[in-house]
């Protein structure tokens, strides 16, 4: 019975992927892509990877879709003629995708059975971190360097978006609100954020011991912030504000500081002192959540489109 369900899920995912690739109207393709992200989240749940499932639903189904929709709307404003890619471009993209998919499939199929795994080692060392969730232990203790660099990449992406603004608008506020926000949307923007913030705080806190964590919590926070900005309840902030920039870099900076402190009080870069790993990790996660929420929100808001107030 569950086998049937899994097969249906796989068929559904494949059909939706083909639909996304073939859809002629961009908006429809993006909406199908959002549905694809949510379904893929279900797929990860079936593989018992709840942490991945939550991230996929939040990023793949949420933020990416919103980014793409904004980009599509902006492209539509710019050009009156819808531009379709050339046949050769399409063919090249199709070939590249097929090669990558085939390569991945080959790699997965060529694993010896049982596949090599570090899961027992990760579970065995869990006690020394004081954490209960092995995924968080991998992300913030065993492979902390990867996580740290990933957050720096996010900041670089935001810098890339910001640098699209013309010189005279640098440091100004991005424009996100609609000309007239419909009343039901404003109502949603008033009542949903308290729940969202509560859920985000819970996700961040519970991440140490159960599925959840910084990225999921940060995405939920970002969604609530975007809702408030889209409903015109609060304007987007000026990007030159010092508090905003401090909060943006706060998470990675704290991470770096703890990393370098590791030379003095523990075994080296990014190693935590014995017994104090958990409180340090939870502290880093809290700062990272705020940074991720701001970064994702500002990524969607886009480059500044108004000159900074004098």
């Amino acid at each position: 019975m569950t086998m049937l369900l899994d097969l249906a899920l796989v068929a559904w995912l494949l059909a939706l992927a083909i639909h996304v690739a073939r859809a002629r109207d961009d908006q429809g393709a993006i909406i199908a892509f959002i549905a694809f992200g949510l379904l893929l989240g279900l797929g990860w749940t079936r593989l018992s990877a709840i942490d991945v499932a939550m991230t996929e639903a939040a990023i793949g189904g949420g933020v990416t879709g919103m980014l793409l929709l904004r980009a599509e709307a902006r492209l539509r404003q710019r050009s009156s003629q819808p531009q379709t890619p050339k046949r050769t471009t399409k063919a090249a993209a199709a070939i590249a995708c097929t090669v990558v998919a085939a390569g991945l499939a080959l790699a997965v199929l060529s694993f010896p059975s049982p596949a090599p795994t570090l899961a027992p080692a990760a579970a065995a060392a869990l006690d020394s971190t004081g954490l209960g969730n092995p995924v968080t232990a991998v992300l913030l203790a065993y492979r902390a360097l990867d996580t740290l660099l990933e957050k720096v990449v996010l900041l670089l992406a935001l810098l890339g978006v910001w640098s699209l603004a013309p010189d005279q608008l640098w440091g100004g506020a991005p424009e996100l609100r609609q000309t007239v926000a419909p009343p039901p949307f404003v109502y949603l923007g008033r009542i949903l954020p308290p729940f969202g913030v509560l859920i985000a705080v819970y996700m961040c806190w519970v991440g140490a011991d159960a599925p959840g964590g910084t990225f999921q919590a940060g995405t939920v926070l970002a969604a609530m912030w975007l809702l408030i900005m889209l409903a015109s309840l609060r304007p987007a902030p000026e990007t030159r504000r010092t508090t905003l920039r401090l909060l943006l870099v706060g998470g990675p900076v704290l991470f770096f500081a703890v990393g370098f402190l590791g030379f003095a009080v523990a075994d080296g870069f990014l190693s935590y002192p014995e017994g104090a790993a958990k409180p340090i990790i939870v502290g880093i996660e809290a700062a990272l959540t705020v940074s991720i929420a701001l970064t994702l929100g500002l990524l969607v808001a886009g480059p500044s489109s108004r000159a900074p107030a004098p």
């Binding site: 419909p182 039901p184 949307f185 109502y187 949603l188 009542i191 949903l192 729940f195």
Partner: protein, 97 residues
């Protein structure tokens, strides 16, 4: 007592699934956007409500049940808002010449 709770779950979740099926049929077959929205919100509100109601006896704790009800309430709010937004766009498009 447990078998009674299980029977209740089966009936309620079954009804919910049936409503979702009917809602999907409506979404695919109804002629215009407003009636399709109607079918969709019926499935969302009542179907999900019945499924949550059916799952309540299976919840391990009071807090777990409360979370299920919260999921239903949040889905309600977002579904209602989305329907209003779509209907609003439709209305503005129609009233414009």
């Amino acid at each position: 007592m447990t078998s009674l709770a299980n029977a209740f779950t089966l009936v309620a979740v079954g009804c919910g699934a049936l409503l979702f099926l009917a809602g999907t049929l409506g979404l695919l077959r109804f002629p215009d956007t407003l009636s399709r929205l109607h079918a969709l919100s019926k499935a969302d509100n009542l179907g999900l409500g019945l499924i949550v109601l059916g799952l309540l006896p299976q919840a391990e704790s009071f807090a777990g049940g409360l979370k299920l009800v919260c999921v239903w309430l949040l889905a309600q709010i977002s579904a209602a808002t989305a329907s209003q937004l779509i209907a609003g766009v439709l209305y503005r498009r129609k009233s414009r010449p």
